[in-house]
């Protein structure tokens, strides 16, 4: 509900409290419209204060409602009705002030833009803007029309395309906010004094002869600026996300027209985005599926609880220091163990670096950073782990080394403690053999860099108990990561499918496609990094090791002397030309000091180019299909157990294009029948890895999609 009140100075206060719930039973627009009715019936009014708080329910309901929209006719009609309510408010003949009491986003920020004057609480960590752009949705209630008229084309585009949200200081500079205050009282008094000074007030764009600051799209330098933004969108690889193009079109087309026409143009682009696949995929993945996973939907239902006030991380290397850092961030005391002081110092230094980077960026205060750092206690002494609830080993990816630390830890850890092995490939069923209590043993797969990667794969075995799984799940949530639960199998889920991407890249190279083309095609398909570049990053030697680990277990049916093309390439790189990847400054790329990397010029002396001008779509299909098909196999085998986790794992784990909604949603969008047909085509030309699993046939028969 919107709280309605009137004070003794005849000022109406409309308060949108943060805890108010808006949903299908309590429609925001209806409620707002009722307020306007009431205002119109009031006798003496001097002005209106819109008191806005960070209400999450309005925005999430708005997004969920959009998810249901499939029919453009209805969608357009609805948008126009909702817009007319905001417009009705905007054109009320009194001064209207928005006071922003907390961070304000999306629809609520659009409400603020309907006011003549906007004042925010002066707090640096408060943000205002349009975060839904990241979900493929642009403001659609007149917000873009108003913002363009308020601050001009260039600033509007800059804000919407790149910043999306910003703090008080920056928005005051841009002219989006008009004032700031240090307390709620000051906010209110500033609002009242604005109202007292202005008896009547129209938006500047509702006054005759209004001109947009900086001119319309074909005036001044605007054409050049707009063309430059278009190129930048391309450069940032955002062309797969139609929202950016829609924003530029809406802003530039509308700038030379009346408010009403500009608003209709905004609606048309908005409807196109809302009813399109991309925004639905982004909302479903980033909001719905991730939310479902994080809320514990896939966690076993029980009351087990563990606060994890103290944990131990074994190994302070690349993964270990990151795990220690994210745990300390979540207020958990960490024993960071390693075999030498030197290693420990290196790990601590890395943690310190992340913290000071965050302080520099203004993300955390210096005191907090010091406090977090003090939670990490370095040690070389196993006896220190006796009171830890969870021991995570993140030592080198070698069975023997892992076996050793498992045994050594169990000598010291308390009986109820959970032991988790962090690994991307080594079978948990093999590792838990070294444990005396396999029910307390589980696999955790963190991604590098741990402080930035949101996903964690939890690998359970038949022996791990429900308690162990539940508690580890809760731990992952406590450190603010998104856990997907998978069953033990070679490569688990993410490594197994991601590996298909790199292998396909290598197969293309082996078949004679130019390396640069493999790389650029992957980017065009929506991947953040090409298969060759990513192999260099992982280290080619390690990739070869992973191949042996997964390949020998998964595809043992192949005859011994059958060598797959990707293995051939990996072998060649590691053993023949000894180019191990980025860490050794030579891999598929050359890494000159202080200069941009470039593809190793001799690569094609060994893998001779056969296809100079191939059909790019074929390559894109091959890269996407191998991953989608391997996911289906994982799903069929029960390695991954849900549609949601499969999609989220692919997007957050290895950067499968989010606009495609994840590996299984990609098949849904492609259409199962069409997908099967294309897979069989690819199988007949490029090998049995493209043969669709049986489950696809079953689903086609019963007319199902993945869900």
């Amino acid at each position: 509900m919107i709280q309605y009140s009137k004070n003794k100075n005849n000022i109406i206060f409309l308060k949108l409290a943060s805890q108010a719930i808006f949903d299908e039973n309590n429609d925001f627009f209806e409620s707002f419209s009722n307020c306007i009715d009431k205002i119109e019936k009031e006798g003496d009014i001097n002005g209106i204060v819109l008191n806005l708080q960070n209400n999450k329910s309005i925005n999430s309901y708005e997004v969920k409602k959009n998810l249901e929209e499939k029919d453009p006719t209805n969608c357009f009609k609805k948008v126009e009705i909702e817009k007319s309510i905001l417009r009705r408010f905007e054109t009320l003949d009194f001064p209207k002030v928005a006071i922003l009491d907390g961070s304000i986003f999306n629809l609520i920020f659009e409400l603020a833009l309907c006011c003549n004057y906007r004042i925010a609480l002066n707090e640096n960590n408060q943000k205002f803007g349009f975060t839904h752009i990241n979900l493929g949705l642009m403001p659609g209630k007149g917000g873009m029309v108003r913002l363009t008229r308020e601050i001009g084309i260039e600033q509007t585009l800059d804000f919407l395309l790149f910043e999306k949200s910003s703090n008080v200081k920056s928005l005051l500079e841009k002219g989006v906010l008009q004032n700031s205050a240090n307390s709620l009282e000051e906010l209110t008094s500033l609002a009242e004094s604005f109202i007292n000074k202005n008896q009547k007030y129209n938006q500047p764009w509702d006054v005759k002869d209004y001109k947009i600051p900086g001119g319309a799209s074909y005036q001044n330098d605007n054409p050049i600026i707009i063309a430059d933004y278009s190129a930048k969108i391309f450069k940032k690889n955002l062309r797969n996300y139609p929202v950016y193009e829609a924003i530029i079109s809406t802003v530039t087309e509308g700038a030379s027209l009346s408010f009403e026409s500009a608003s209709k143009i905004e609606s048309r682009y908005y409807v196109e985005l809302v009813t399109g696949d991309v925004s639905k995929n982004l909302v479903t993945a980033h909001l719905i599926q991730k939310g479902k996973i994080n809320s514990g939907y896939f966690r076993p239902k029980n009351k087990f609880k563990n606060e994890f006030t103290k944990i131990c991380v074994l190994g302070s290397g690349l993964m270990g220091h990151g795990i220690a850092y994210v745990s300390a961030m979540a207020d958990i005391e960490v024993i960071l163990m390693d075999t030498s002081k030197d290693n420990l110092d290196k790990g601590l230094k890395r943690i310190k670096n992340i913290l000071s980077f965050n302080v520099q960026k203004g993300l955390i205060e210096k005191e907090l950073a010091d406090d977090i750092f003090s939670k990490v206690n370095p040690s070389q002494d196993y006896s220190q782990i006796k009171d830890c609830d969870l021991i995570i080993e993140a030592v080198f990816e070698e069975r023997d080394i892992k076996a050793k630390v498992i045994k050594e830890s169990e000598k010291h850890m308390k009986k109820s403690a959970i032991f988790a092995s962090n690994t991307s490939t080594i079978s948990i069923n093999e590792l838990n053999k070294f444990s005396s209590s396999p029910e307390n043993f589980i696999g955790i797969h963190f991604f590098s860099p741990v402080d930035r990667m949101e996903l964690v794969e939890i690998i359970k075995t038949k022996k791990s108990s429900a308690k162990t799984l539940s508690c580890v799940f809760d731990f992952i949530r406590k450190i603010n990561k998104t856990p997907i639960i998978v069953n033990d199998s070679p490569g688990f889920y993410t490594t197994r499918v991601f590996e298909k991407y790199t292998c396909e890249g290598l197969a293309l190279l082996y078949e004679g496609y130019p390396a640069h083309l493999i790389e650029s095609t992957s980017k065009n398909a929506g991947f953040p990094i090409g298969p060759l570049a990513v192999l260099d990053e992982i280290n080619i030697e390690l990739a070869l090791k992973i191949r042996k680990e997964i390949g020998s277990n998964l595809y043992s049916q192949k005859s011994e002397n059958h060598v797959e093309p990707w293995d051939e390439v990996l072998n060649f790189m590691v053993n023949k030309v000894k180019r191990g990847g980025r860490s050794s400054s030579s891999g598929f790329y050359e890494y000159p000091k202080n200069e941009r990397k470039y593809l190793w010029p001799e690569l094609h002396n060994h893998f001779v180019i056969q296809f100079n001008k191939p059909d790019q779509q074929l390559l894109i299909d091959r890269l996407l299909f191998v991953q989608a098909l391997e996911t289906v196999r994982c799903y069929e085998e029960g390695v991954i157990q849900s549609f949601d986790e499969a999609n989220i794992g692919s997007i957050y784990g290895w950067g499968f294009p989010a606009f495609r909604g994840g590996t299984l949603q990609f098949i849904n969008d492609y259409g199962l029948v069409k997908f099967k047909k294309r897979a069989l085509e690819l199988a007949s030309k490029y090998g049995e890895r493209y043969i669709p699993p049986k489950i696809i046939d079953r689903m086609i028969e019963s007319d199902e999609t993945f869900s």
């Binding site: 054409p223 063309a227 391309f234 450069k235 193009e245 079109s249 130019p514 083309l517 191939p614």
Partner: protein, 400 residues
């Protein structure tokens, strides 16, 4: 079939951009000076002119609203002369002539003033906006990149080096300065201001003392915008190219200048009744469309089309004017047409040395070609230009 004859083609000198002499008069005034010069030269009864067709690529502001009609009126020409302004981008000036030829050959009209104008100091490139470059969803769907990127892409694909391009540019400068010294541009008309003070008598853009060393020091002109995103837009289409080499500079690309030209085209009737003497006849005209991203590959296919229409081969042609929009455009044209030396190509320089007043260039090149055919007493000539948006245009003439 009615023959389309060219009676004459005259042009203004090409003035430097912004600070040049021609920036001091309006486009209408400039065009009008040429009209008056033509009228005076032949004591032309302007009431006999059936149409005025003027090419202009930025037909806005000073050049807007059908500049041909305004200039004819401003010149005091007969009030009954209709006129139109056309835009086939860089092919406009030649298209105006070709269109006039088609009208004459149809037999429906007998005398037409065609030509083109571009005062780039006053109405700069981009002044007409346009969705190709400035509307994001259009630019994105058609993979639009600025022409310089297309030129660099041609050089990259064809393997032209910076030295190749600079050497060509140097030749253009040498040939142009020789031509000026030897008074080879007989089509040139000096332009005077309202006080009859001489504004400009010769082409201003040429740099006779340019050296290869100087040319090699110039910075690539399109690297910055390329790196800003346009390279990737082009490469999304040209996926077999790893990286675009940015080789074109201000020195080996066409110059931005002011200029105008008109060409008088008519039928045989005029020869008898007006006593006009035909200098050449138009054998064939052609246009074509090519990939809009690389944009500049039109001259060869347009030429092939025109040659086949006239039943000729490229070896039959005595002199060729292929517009020097960028050095790579000329080199690419030669490669595609199997021309292995520069003997017939742009013998008096071209747009690199003399400048490229967009809408006027086609008509200017035709005049230059006719002058030189006469000078050398040769017969067949070809004019061809690459055209923005991915087109090409060509005209083949024969001296009479």
């Amino acid at each position: 079939m009615n023959e389309a004859f060219i009676f004459d083609s005259i042009r203004s000198p090409r003035g430097k951009n912004k600070n040049g002499s021609l920036s001091q008069i309006t486009p209408v005034d400039l065009l009008s000076k040429l009209m008056l010069a033509l009228e005076k030269k032949y004591q032309l009864d302007t009431s006999l002119i059936n149409d005025v067709i003027i090419g202009c690529v930025m037909p806005v502001n000073d050049q807007g609203a059908n500049i041909g009609k305004i200039a004819a009126q401003y010149s005091g020409w007969d009030v009954d002369i209709p006129s139109m302004q056309i835009n086939r981008c860089c092919g406009s000036g030649l298209e105006a002539v070709n269109l006039a030829a088609m009208k004459i050959r149809s037999g429906w009209e007998d005398l037409i003033v065609s030509g083109g104008i571009e005062c780039m100091s006053r109405v700069p490139i981009g002044a007409d906006g346009g969705p190709m470059a400035f509307e994001t969803k259009v630019a994105s769907r058609i993979n639009y990149v600025p022409q310089g990127i297309g030129a660099d892409l041609i050089a990259t694909i064809e393997g032209f080096t910076r030295q190749d391009l600079d050497a060509y540019a140097l030749m253009s400068q040498k040939r142009a300065s020789e031509a000026i010294k030897n008074k080879r541009f007989r089509s040139l008309v000096p332009i005077y201001d309202q006080n009859d003070l001489l504004l400009i008598a010769e082409d201003e853009h040429v740099r006779p003392n340019t050296s290869l060393m100087q040319l090699s020091k110039l910075k690539p002109a399109f690297e910055k915008i390329g790196k800003n995103g346009y390279d990737e837009i082009a490469l999304q289409k040209y996926i077999h190219i790893e990286e675009i080499s940015h080789l074109h500079t201000a020195g080996n690309s066409s110059g931005i200048v002011d200029g105008a030209s008109i060409t008088l085209v008519g039928s045989k009737i005029n020869v008898n009744s007006l006593g006009l003497k035909p200098r050449a006849r138009i054998l064939s005209v052609a246009t074509c469309s090519t990939d809009p991203t690389i944009m500049l590959e039109g001259p060869a296919p347009a030429t092939k089309k025109a040659l086949s229409m006239a039943n000729l081969t490229i070896d039959d042609i005595d002199l060729i004017e292929v517009n020097e929009a960028f050095a790579a455009v000329v080199l690419k044209f030669m490669k595609e047409m199997n021309i292995d030396n520069f003997d017939k190509i742009n013998v008096n320089g071209g747009s690199i040395s003399l400048g490229h007043p967009l809408g006027a260039t086609g008509s200017i090149l035709l005049g230059t070609l006719m002058d030189e055919l006469e000078e050398r007493d040769l017969s067949l000539g070809l004019v061809t230009l690459c055209v923005a948006g991915g087109m090409g245009i060509a005209t083949i003439i024969e001296r009479v």
